[in-house]
């Protein structure tokens, strides 16, 4: 099931981040090929690959690219979302540090497809070493003549705010503002960064593009499921024997990922629950892990693939305490723009805290569920819905644990 490593094929080389190593393993050949292709043909190849956004939303990448208005004559921007911050996710850090040229080559190809002359790479401010590695690769690519001939790359450092991983929040931040998400429509492809058509793609998504151009969309599509092509990088952490990043087909099951790749459950060795796609993904119980990890497989299981951050909890883990950590995160990171999110994340955090501290009230659980549900779907961006996923699923699936704390 693990099959061929594509994105991580060079990770074991100590010099994998250098241009020399990248070229020695076939790097920039896809860019040479793409230069002989019409932009529309590149987009068609990516559509045929069934590549879907790997930052969290899972939107079909080629389709996104095709939303750039035909006949637009002004600038178009390509923006790379390297603001990795979804709790439980660490794949983009590896890609930036260990294979930065794959991202640059993917950017060159994507920029040709959407006719962008400038690409911005938004790297979270805390990622100092990944930024240094990527910035060095950019300089190498300029010196080698890949960049600066019709396509320029600007590396932009964030300043600490989870919401800037939301694509319109990221655009606000790139424009020199606080990272408030923007109302859609207009979508970024129509009116994005600096008012111009903009495509925002995740690091891992774009790092796949050279391979798709090199080996064909059909090849990539065949690696995955009917509705999602390829492999992806799963970040596995929590109570497993071998936490780490694993590349596998999106058709792998959650059970295979935990048992076969990550070495099985530690703690008392018995699984209690697992978050399959970063902290915003609803939790699954131990009897719900025979699901494929593709976007639609996890959606059908009532959760989401998200950023593929898998957090494993064994039977000794307190689910109310885990929810407290998660609720604190959403209360801290709410940008404050929309009332339901700003108020509910803070209120729910307070209620979960008093339950965990033994001061819970009988009505608290139903109040949390009610508050969570009322706000869902009412806000500008997906942040609040991402908080509602854990609020509802942790309590609905492990209610007895919360009730035991309240009864004390």
């Amino acid at each position: 099931m693990t099959g061929e490593r594509i994105l991580m094929r060079n990770f074991d080389r100590p010099d994998s981040h250098t241009l020399a190593a990248y070229r020695a393993t076939g790097g920039y050949a896809a860019w040479a090929k793409a230069q002989g292709m019409e932009p529309a043909a590149i987009t068609e190849e990516v559509k045929a690959s069934n590549l879907r956004g790997l930052g969290g939303a899972g939107f079909p990448t080629g389709t996104k690219w095709s939303f750039i208005p035909k006949g637009h004559t002004g600038p178009v921007y390509l923006v790379i979302n390297a603001d990795e911050g979804e709790p439980g996710t660490f794949k983009d850090r590896y890609l930036l540090e260990r294979d930065p040229h794959a991202l640059l080559e993917g950017m060159l190809i994507a920029a040709r497809a959407i006719r962008a002359a400038t690409g911005f790479v938004y790297i979270r401010g805390e990622y100092v070493e990944p930024w240094r590695r990527f910035d060095a690769a950019v300089r190498e690519a300029y010196d080698a003549g890949y960049l600066g001939k019709g396509f320029d790359v600007v590396v932009h450092r964030g300043a600490g705010a989870y919401i800037c991983g939301e694509e319109t929040g990221l655009i606000s931040s790139l424009e020199g503002k606080k990272g408030w998400p923007k109302v859609k429509p207009p979508f970024p492809a129509i009116k994005g960064a600096f008012g111009m058509p903009t495509i925002v793609n995740n690091v891992e998504t774009i790092s796949h593009v050279p391979h798709i151009i090199d080996r064909g969309g059909a090849w990539f599509a065949a690696l995955g499921t009917r509705t999602q092509g390829g492999t992806r990088m799963f970040s596995v952490s929590g109570r497993v024997a071998r936490p780490g990043v694993y590349e596998a087909s999106v058709a792998i099951t959650l059970r295979q990922l935990i048992d076969d790749l990550a070495g099985g459950v530690t703690g008392n060795g018995r699984l209690k629950g697992v978050v399959p796609g970063g902290s915003s993904a609803p939790i699954l119980r131990a009897d719900e892990i025979d699901v494929t990890m593709d976007v639609d497989g996890l959606r059908n299981a009532g959760t989401m693939a998200g950023s593929a951050g898998v957090v494993v909890m064994d039977e000794t883990v307190s689910i109310p305490e885990a929810l407290l950590v998660v609720a604190r995160f959403y209360a801290h990171e709410s940008c404050g723009q929309c009332t339901p999110c700003r108020e509910s994340t803070g209120w729910i955090y307070k209620m979960v805290r008093r339950i965990v501290e033994g001061r819970g009230r009988k009505e608290d659980l139903d109040t949390i569920l009610d508050v969570a549900r009322r706000g869902a779907g009412t806000t500008i961006c997906a942040f609040y819905d991402g908080a509602v996923g854990p609020y509802l699923s942790y309590i609905e699936k492990f209610r007895d644990e919360f009730e035991a704390l309240i009864a004390k």
Binding site: G160, A161, Y162, G176, K177, K178, G238, P243, E321
Partner: protein, 160 residues
Amino acid sequence: MTASRVQFSGEQLAEVRRLQALYPDRRGALLPVLHMAQDAFGWVSLDVEEYVAELFDLSPAHVHEVVTFYTLYFRQPKGRHVVAVCHNLSCHLAGAKTILGHLKTRLGVEVGATTPDGRVTLLAVECLCACERAPMMQVDDRYELDLTPEKVDRILEGLR
């Protein structure tokens, strides 16, 4: 810090112009220039905000709104070193609470405070995305991974 001391060098001003020219609207360079200002002046005081606002022809209120939105800009003097412990989910499962408690005891300060000698500012932060090596913390620019209380002690030893 007095207002008169908030002044980039000629070289730094050239870097500000270079950064501003990278963006279709120079305001795009606001976050990078604020990073520069923090490095140059130690922290982002109201005087620094006003100075940066002038460089962008923006209102100080706008710059203040930006500075207060992000966690990496310090609005009061910080220690010579910043120790930021992740307390999100995977680190929680790996014992972040023990690490944070150990640091509080060793440093004798609460989260958000700086040791009286100005050596270390202690923070608790959200996911730094190194969950495979939890519990972890960031010390200035470096990620410190697979923490134990003993390893934390060794790291603190190295901070002067």
